[in-house]
C-alpha cells in the first residue's frame, strides 16, 4: 500500500490538466480528406493525371462508384482504427462497415477485371513507376497514421498496424485509379494486389515497433 501511495504521489506531483482526444469520426474525416488531397497533389506533381478522368467521373456511374467506394473504404477503415485505439469504444458496427466497403471496392475492381471494364481501357496517362510511387506513398501515409494512432491508446498493436496498412493502400489505390492508365489487369496487379500485400505486412511490423501500449 505504501508503494501504491508513493506511486500516486509521483503520478499527480507534476499534474497539469490534459486535453481529451478529439472524436474518432472527426479525425477520420480530416485524415481521409487531407491525405487524399495531399496524395492527389503529390501524384499530380510527379506526373500528370490521366486525361479525361473528370469526365469519366461525371459521366460513368460505375467508374465513379469504384472511386466513391474506395474513398468510403478509406474513411471507414481509418474511423475503425481510430476507434479501436480508444479503450472501450464500440467498434462492431465500424468493423462491419469497413469490411463491407473494402470488400465492395475489391469486388468492383475484380468485376471490371473479370467481366467488363467500367470505362474505356486506355494506355493514356500511364505512369512508368506507379507501383513504386504507390508503395512509397502508402509507406509514408502508413507511418504518419501510425504516429497519429500512437497518441491514443491502441491495445492490439499488430492488428492496428495491419488496418493502418490497409487504409493507406486504399488511399493510394483510389488516387491511382484517377491518376494512372485504366487497365483492369494493371489495376489489380499494380494498384491493388502488390501494394495490399506489402502495406499489410509492413503495417503489421511497423505497428509493433511504432505503436506502444499504455
Amino acid at each position: 500500500m505504501a508503494d501504491q501511495r508513493k506511486l500516486i504521489e509521483d503520478l499527480k506531483s507534476d499534474f497539469k490538466g490534459f486535453a481529451v482526444v478529439k472524436p474518432s469520426s472527426q479525425v477520420a474525416l480530416l485524415w481521409t480528406l487531407g491525405t487524399l488531397g495531399v496524395l492527389c497533389v503529390l501524384a499530380f506533381v510527379t506526373s500528370p493525371f490521366r486525361a479525361g478522368w473528370v469526365g469519366e467521373l461525371a459521366q460513368n456511374p460505375r467508374f465513379s462508384l469504384e472511386v466513391l467506394t474506395g474513398g468510403a473504404a478509406v474513411f471507414s477503415t481509418v474511423w475503425l482504427v481510430l476507434s479501436m485505439s480508444i479503450p472501450g469504444s464500440p467498434v462492431k458496427a465500424l468493423k462491419v462497415s469497413s469490411l463491407f466497403f473494402c470488400s465492395s471496392f475489391l469486388a468492383l475492381i475484380l468485376y471490371s477485371f473479370l467481366v467488363e471494364p467500367s470505362t474505356t481501357v486506355t494506355m493514356a496517362g500511364k505512369r512508368h513507376h506507379c507501383l513504386t510511387e504507390g508503395l512509397a506513398f502508402s509507406a509514408l501515409l502508413n507511418l504518419g497514421f501510425l504516429f497519429l494512432v500512437r497518441r491514443r491508446a491502441p491495445q492490439n498493436l499488430a492488428l492496428t498496424g495491419v488496418l493502418t496498412g490497409l487504409s493507406s493502400m486504399c488511399i493510394t489505390a483510389t488516387t491511382m485509379h484517377l491518376a494512372c492508365m485504366y487497365s483492369p489487369e494493371h489495376i489489380v496487379k499494380s494498384h491493388i494486389a502488390l501494394p495490399l500485400l506489402s502495406s499489410v505486412m509492413v503495417g503489421a511490423v511497423m505497428g509493433v515497433f511504432v505503436l506502444k501500449r499504455i
Binding site: L7, K12, S13, G17, F18, A19, V21, G88, A153, Q155
Partner: protein, 196 residues
Amino acid sequence: LTNLKTDSKKSIKGFDQEIEARWRQLLIEASEGNSTSYDVFLTEVGEYLLIYCGRYLTSPELAEDCSQNCLIALHKGKHTYQPSRPFGPWFFTIVKRKIIDQYRKNSRNKEVYNPEIVENMASSSPSFDIAEEVYKILPKMDPVYREAFKLTKLDGLSVAEASKKLGIKESALKVRVHRASKILKKLVEEDFIEKH
C-alpha cells in the same frame, strides 16, 4: 484467464452507477487541471483495483503489482477517456488488458515471483551483496529504464534534472524509474536463482 473476458463484461454491467458517475466526474475535473480531483480519483481507483486484481491473481504482491500497472496505464491513457462515452467500458478495457499482461508475465516467471525466494535471498546467502548485484545486473536492463534508474538512484540527480537531461516529462521519468525498480528486482531474483 478465459473467464476474465466474461467477468469484465459482468463487471461493466454490475459496476455501481454512483461510483461510475463519481469517477467520471473526477476525471473530467482532472482534465480541467484540478489536481485534488485527480488525487482522489487515483486513490479511490487504486483501492478498488487492489481488490479487483486480487480476484484474479493469487498472491497479494501480484495484485498490488498489477493494480500499480493499471494505475500507470490509466494515468498514461487518461486523455483517451471521452466524457460523452460511459466510463465503465473504458476503465475495464484498460484494466482487463493489464491483468492479462500480468498473467502472461507471471506464467513466464513463475519461480521468479515466488515471494519466499525474495525473503530467503539475504538470509540464505551471507555473501549476497544487493548493491554489488545491482551494478552487475544494470547492463542487462533495457537502456530506456536503465538510464532513468541510473540518473535518479545512482547519480543522485533530482527528478527535474534527470527528466531535463533525458528530454522527457517528469511524470514519464517517474514511471520509468518505477518500472526500472521492478525490472531490477526481478533481474536480481533471477540472477540469485541461477547462482543458487
